[in-house]
């Protein structure tokens, strides 16, 4: 019945695509201790979104995507130099972007409902349900790109994640692949802002990977299962939130947390048995 409405169909399609993409690189991010890059970049995306909405851009992605990618590259490059450690760098960029974004929204916004705007950007409350067909197509295209890049570079990503020094020694351009990973993360985050808002993106990236790591021992198994969990949780979350009227983003994240708790329990039981 709900599926009769096009906006519900759009939300489900885009939601599942985003969930699939965000879960793929989760394993790599968790294992490379990059989890907070996702978090940092999402704040950057918030800042960029604020600027874009003040500038009254009709298509905010035009601004948000390049800015987020640029910051991903900066965080990665600067994080490798030992002068400012990676985590400190992320904290600087992300909190800075958050502050600038909120300030800009506050000072220049013409909207009458400022706190509502901020809340929407941070928690993604309704934007997933107001997608236009063009946004759906754009999301689909970016998702296909992310999945294609991941499949083509799967073996290299594994190698660089497991042992960067070894990969470098045998001639793999680890720096280049790290850059690729950072760019893909940036794309995923900009995509996922529609679904869960910028504050909750990390959950979408990290939880499915952590859940799958409780249960599976092979990298391939973990990756595939993380993707399945993520897509199922997104579907369940969206349907539940439409039926009950809860906010979409947080409902999906709570579904992910529930899945993690279940996997954690099964993992414990499996280890004991």
């Amino acid at each position: 019945m709900y599926l009769d409405y096009p906006f519900v169909r759009y939300a489900i399609i885009v939601g599942m695509l985003i969930a699939l993409c965000s879960s793929l690189l989760g394993v790599t991010l968790v294992l490379k201790r990059f989890s907070f890059i996702g978090d940092g970049l999402s704040h950057v995306a918030f800042g960029a979104m604020a600027v874009a909405s003040v500038m009254n851009l009709t298509n905010q992605m035009v601004l948000v995507l390049p800015v987020t990618i640029a910051c991903a590259i900066i965080i990665l490059r600067m994080g490798q130099s030992t002068k400012i450690r990676g985590d400190a760098m992320i904290a600087m960029v992300s909190v800075g972007a958050l502050a600038i974004g909120y300030l800009i929204m506050n000072v220049f916004s013409t909207s009458s409902n400022l706190s509502g705007d901020v809340c929407t950007t941070l928690f993604g409350s309704t934007s997933i349900l107001t997608l236009t067909i063009n946004e759906v197509l754009l999301s689909a295209a970016l998702s296909v790109g992310v999945v294609a890049v991941f499949v083509i570079f799967y073996n290299k990503i594994f190698a660089v994640t497991f042992d960067e020094n070894f990969a470098r020694a045998v001639g793999t351009r680890a720096g280049g692949y790290n850059l690729l990973i950072a760019i893909v993360i940036a794309v995923i985050i900009v995509l996922a802002m529609n679904l869960v808002g910028s504050l909750l993106i990390s959950a979408l990236v990290v939880f499915p990977a952590l859940s799958a790591m409780r249960l599976f021992n092979s990298f391939k198994g973990v990756t595939i299962f993380a993707a399945i969990i993520s897509v199922v949780c997104a579907l369940v979350g969206i349907l539940f939130s439409i039926a009950v009227g809860t906010p979409v983003g947080s409902t999906i994240v709570i579904t992910d947390i529930a899945a993690f708790v279940i996997c954690f329990m099964i993992g414990l039981a499996g280890r004991r048995g």
């Binding site: 073996n155 190698a159 020694a169």
Partner: protein
């Protein structure tokens, strides 16, 4: 021609010179132990040799058809790796990545190489097992199998027995020695002087003015008397 010829090499970071004036050559079938105090530049030497770091001065020339990326490297284990969700097979397969260049997928040739090296390291039974559930000694054998997939001509080992119990260390040394007997050239960092002096043919003592000589000359030299007490 030698596999590797090193000329007037200076090692270090930025303006900090750890070692200078290193001259040595590595021939096929050599077993070289790199010893020295902490911070003397042992790991820096290895990293420079592998091209992970640029030399401050001097040259490293690879000869006899050996390329710099044609090296089997066994790095020290990181914390991340100890709890990495991957099977033994997946990890050993990643040793073949260098030979694939930009080609994205592994083929049957790589899978054969993996099986061969699993057998060689006596860990075929673990192929489908999870890496993080293996013992320290077994994990090192997995990484050694991976290194052999990258190259069976030259192995560069960074403290291969670090963190292993005496029995596992002994097994590791025996394994490395048997590879050397098959003709694999070995360059190994070791804190374990007695093992270095037992197995190695040459000693590279890293310090500000590094010393490279055969084991016999080294034992009789003044440096070893000071260092070994």
């Amino acid at each position: 021609m030698s596999l590797i010829t090193i000329k007037e090499l200076s090692l270090g970071y930025g303006t900090r010179i750890l070692a200078e004036g290193l001259n040595m050559s590595v021939n096929s079938g050599d077993y070289i132990c790199v010893i020295g105090e902490n911070g003397a530049g042992k790991s820096t030497f290895i990293k420079t040799l592998l091209g992970l770091q640029q030399p401050l001065k001097g040259k490293i020339i690879f000869g006899d058809g050996l390329k710099q990326t044609d090296v089997g490297y066994l790095p020290q284990q990181t914390v991340v790796q100890r709890d990495f969700p991957a099977t033994v097979e997946e990890i050993v397969l990643s040793g073949c990545q260098g030979k694939k260049g930009l080609k994205p997928f592994y083929g049957s040739k790589e899978k054969e190489t993996v099986q061969k090296n699993l057998l060689r390291m006596n860990i075929s039974e673990f192929a489908k097992r999870s890496y993080r559930k293996l013992s320290g000694g077994q994990q090192q054998r997995v990484l050694l199998a991976r290194a052999l997939c990258a190259s069976s001509r030259l192995l560069v080992l960074d403290e291969p027995v670090a963190g292993l119990d005496p029995k596992a260390s002994e097994d590791m040394y025996t394994l490395i020695k048997s590879l050397n007997d098959e003709g694999v050239t070995v360059i190994m960092i070791s804190h374990d002087i007695s093992a270095a002096l037992e197995y190695a043919g040459h000693i590279l003592h890293m310090r500000h003015d590094p010393v490279f000589m055969t084991k016999k000359d080294y034992i009789n030299s003044d440096i070893s008397k000071i260092y070994l007490g």
